[in-house]
Symmetry: C2
Subunit: 507 residues, 2 copies
């Protein structure tokens, strides 16, 4: 076995070279070493033999990213960078701090927070020690952080990946980014909630993704309505799961499902149907407040009164035009306790001038009880937040960029240091050093004698706007020929003024 | 069971309120609902009962981040942000694109790349489907990306977390960031290698962490030396593992280990000892090239000739002053095939004026065979890169910040909108909206009637430099009192000029 290796040691042995020769003295090693080049040449053949002798049936691994995940290519990264920048700038404009938490948590931290979706949590293998799971969202780790550090007020953002073993679909991944902004603390009603909606509005407007609407509902109102419809509490979850389908499935189908599969009495379902078909502006709130049954439900009235306050604040913030109160909005997660919201992008309007949502891109709500679940004494810290579903936004931004035909640069290089004649490698390196040390983003080709045409082509394909060309004459004169790649105009610039000139032209 | 719940449904039921009452009609529900507030108050007690009846022995989960991981607090995030910014700016200055890869890979992708360290890889639980592992570094996923997309040249950076089930120690975590920069492609010798070292030098200089040295060696030279010492190839790995300890353990101990534990003949160990004690500048290279045994080893001579070229390039780049050729540098990872390097920070010099390393903060090298391990036809893409061990740098930066006593801001808020009298919530919101819409980073307290002193204290603790104060008189006059928090100087500014004035003062 000493002379035959398995693939796991391939690199090292390849490097070492002479696997056939075990030298016992330095002198014999020297002689043996000379056979290295020859040995290297027959290596490929030997390796195949080695594999079978080792008894390990090794093959090249399947080259793919795991199911539901994907690599992000440089062009996509450039587009994402712009999106992240808009999001982060907005979070900072609203005075948020940032924190970071590990990508995995103790399994028990996530237990009991996600209802039926808990089956989508990725667990780590038990390799001894703690039982760990990949985070499912950023909200539960955030509340664990608050409880653990006894933080009773914070405004924080976090941009990080979360993991869900869901069936991958177009724009739905198993690993994806969330951009979360949350306000924790005991404050006066609806002030932080309104700011969250303002942030959602600002981000979606700045991203220029097209028309959008923000649907708002309240878990308290929804519960009140289910109650007044006579739905037993034991059916609340399953009924809400049906309601949640209404943005994809028409009412008739949802109604049938409730009656046939979920064994609800038709008159109760129809009563519910009247409520959850409702959506509209402030007048809807007023209408519901005056409705005989709803008006006597304490929870529902709490929610409706808060809605009025929220609407007033949203008007002041100048974002009420995109807000729709929508009783059919239920949201999946267990932990919401108050206002919930979801932003949808709108496709073109239908002939009836009725906007159709093409998908949720941001969502959130109030979760006042989650921190208390972690606290030994059940002390709560009221929280409200938003989460931007950035992957769908990336897809739209990528599509828009592609359609516009605009060239997307993947680097920020300002200038390529090039040579017109061979043998100027060291001169290029000197110039490059000078530029780097002046803070200029600069590159050269890693060849001793690149052709000028190759260098110019590189600039065109990489979108580098300037080339600093040196040749015998320029070196003698202490100057550089600065060429504008687009216009091909050239000027001579002294070395001392080069950095300054490049800054001027690329600012 | 319908009236008793387990913790997993806590939030939803808490919100719903009346778990004891199953209403069959809307009318009875209304009456029942009134008991909600009372029900909520006894909830904590009920929940305990529910738990025991459910038969699940539930307790509050242990509030901690998993072993070897940690949360990053806002102050730490602020310091990290500055460090990341320096690193990323440097990578961009050198023309790098960026990519992203998933946090986990198919297990077989990582297999056979890390030698003995493979035991430190985190595996995911088999929940059906693929076998996955968390990435151990960014290099193997990068080469998988290259092979998969048949990319034969790229210069890319990636800043992301990697995972190792190592024993946590001071500054060593199980989840930590790496900042990688790599150049892939067939290029002329040592040009990309020199640029990697230049980047390492630039980053460590800009971070102002103190004196540092970059140790350089070459796997080919090391193999050549082991060969000429008469060490059998089967012992190369274990010998290198011993050599790798030399930065922590004196030679005597390493020598004993080799002789006693690894059963090597003392004269061979002593011969090796003569070589690996060598470190120095260019003259060392010259000396080794002329050494009778080494000079006849083809691999070693390839490395030494490349060293001369590398040294010349590093001189041009102006970074040769921090470079030391050190034959004892071995590096742990299997996949290196050529130049390897490691940057160490130096503590104060010893009385003998001999610098002592206090730890590696960046490392890397050439790995020409790794892409070929993924390619069906074994086609290689030569690669060279660096990885900045940013966690240790964070610790140092945090300690420096703490020692300096400098106040670290965790937000970028420019102004707090405050009120001097009660009842001006809506006026504050209006002013805030105007500021946000002008791009000003602004906050207010989320209280209807905050005290002025509370608002001023908030500015001081958060480091917000300005307060925009409104009261009855200001509202009447359409002005704002702009107060400098540090000097307490106040001026009246008209609302229209407020944003402009704030920008001027905080630029």
């Amino acid at each position: 076995m000493a002379t035959l290796i398995c693939r796991s040691t391939l690199c090292w042995n390849l490097l070492v070279g002479q696997r056939k020769v075990v030298c016992s003295t330095a002198a014999s090693a020297v002689a043996a070493c000379r056979s290295f080049q020859a040995t290297r040449r027959v290596f490929a053949h030997e390796d195949a033999t080695a594999k079978s002798i080792c008894g390990e049936k090794k093959q090249n691994p399947v080259l793919k990213a795991p199911k539901g995940t994907h690599d992000v290519h440089p062009k996509q990264m450039a587009i994402r960078g712009k999106v992240f920048n808009i999001v982060e700038k907005c979070f900072k404009r609203h005075g948020a701090e940032s924190i970071d938490t590990p990508v995995f948590e103790l399994k028990e931290i996530l237990t009991g927070k996600y209802g039926e979706d808990a089956k989508l949590i990725y667990d780590l293998k038990d390799q001894g020690g703690e039982h760990l799971s990949l985070r499912y969202d950023l909200t539960v780790p955030f509340t664990r952080y608050l409880a653990m550090n006894k933080i009773s007020r914070i405004k924080r953002y976090q941009i990080a990946k979360v993991y869900r073993r869901d069936n991958p679909a177009l724009g739905r991944y198993r690993e994806f980014y969330q951009c979360d902004f949350d306000i924790a603390g005991h404050y006066d009603p609806m002030i932080p909630d309104a700011e969250c909606l303002k942030i959602m509005y600002e981000i979606l407007s700045e991203l220029e993704l097209g028309e959008f609407l923000i649907k708002v509902n309240d878990r308290r109102l929804l519960s009140g309505i289910l109650t007044v419809c006579g739905i037993p509490e034991s059916k609340f979850k399953t009924v809400c799961a049906s309601i949640d389908k209404l943005d994809k499935v028409p009412w008739d189908k949802v109604r049938s499902e409730m009656i046939e599969e979920k064994e609800m009495r038709p008159e109760i379902v129809d009563r519910l149907g009247e409520y959850i078909k409702l959506n509209g502006d402030l007048s809807l709130i007023q209408q519901l407040s005056e409705e005989p049954l709803v008006s006597q439900n304490i929870l529902a009235m709490e929610a409706l009164n808060d809605f009025k306050l929220l609407h007033r604040y949203l008007e002041i913030f100048g974002v009420a035009d995109k807000i729709v109160f929508d009783i059919s909005l239920a949201r999946g997660l267990d932990y919401y306790t108050g206002v919930i919201y979801e932003a949808v992008l709108l496709s073109d309007k239908t002939p009836q001038n009725h906007p159709i949502g093409i998908g949720s891109v941001a969502a959130g709500g109030r979760y006042d009880e989650l921190v208390g679940m972690f606290d030994a004494k059940g002390r709560n810290v009221p929280c409200v937040g938003i989460s931007i579903g950035i992957e769908r936004i990336f897809s739209i931004a990528e599509k828009k960029a592609e359609e516009s035909g605009e060239k997307i640069r993947t680097t920020e290089t300002q200038v390529l240091v090039a040579t017109a004649q061979p043998m100027h490698l060291e001169e290029r390196m000197k110039l490059l050093t000078m530029l780097w040390n002046s803070g200029i983003k600069a590159e050269m080709l890693y060849k001793k004698n690149p052709k000028l045409l190759t260098q110019l082509h590189y600039c065109e394909s990489a979108g580098i706007p300037l080339v600093a060309i040196i040749g015998d004459q320029e070196i003698k004169d202490g100057v550089v020929k600065l060429r504008d790649v687009a216009t091909r105009a050239e000027v001579e610039v002294s070395k001392e003024h080069l950095a300054e000139e490049i800054k001027k032209r690329t600012s």
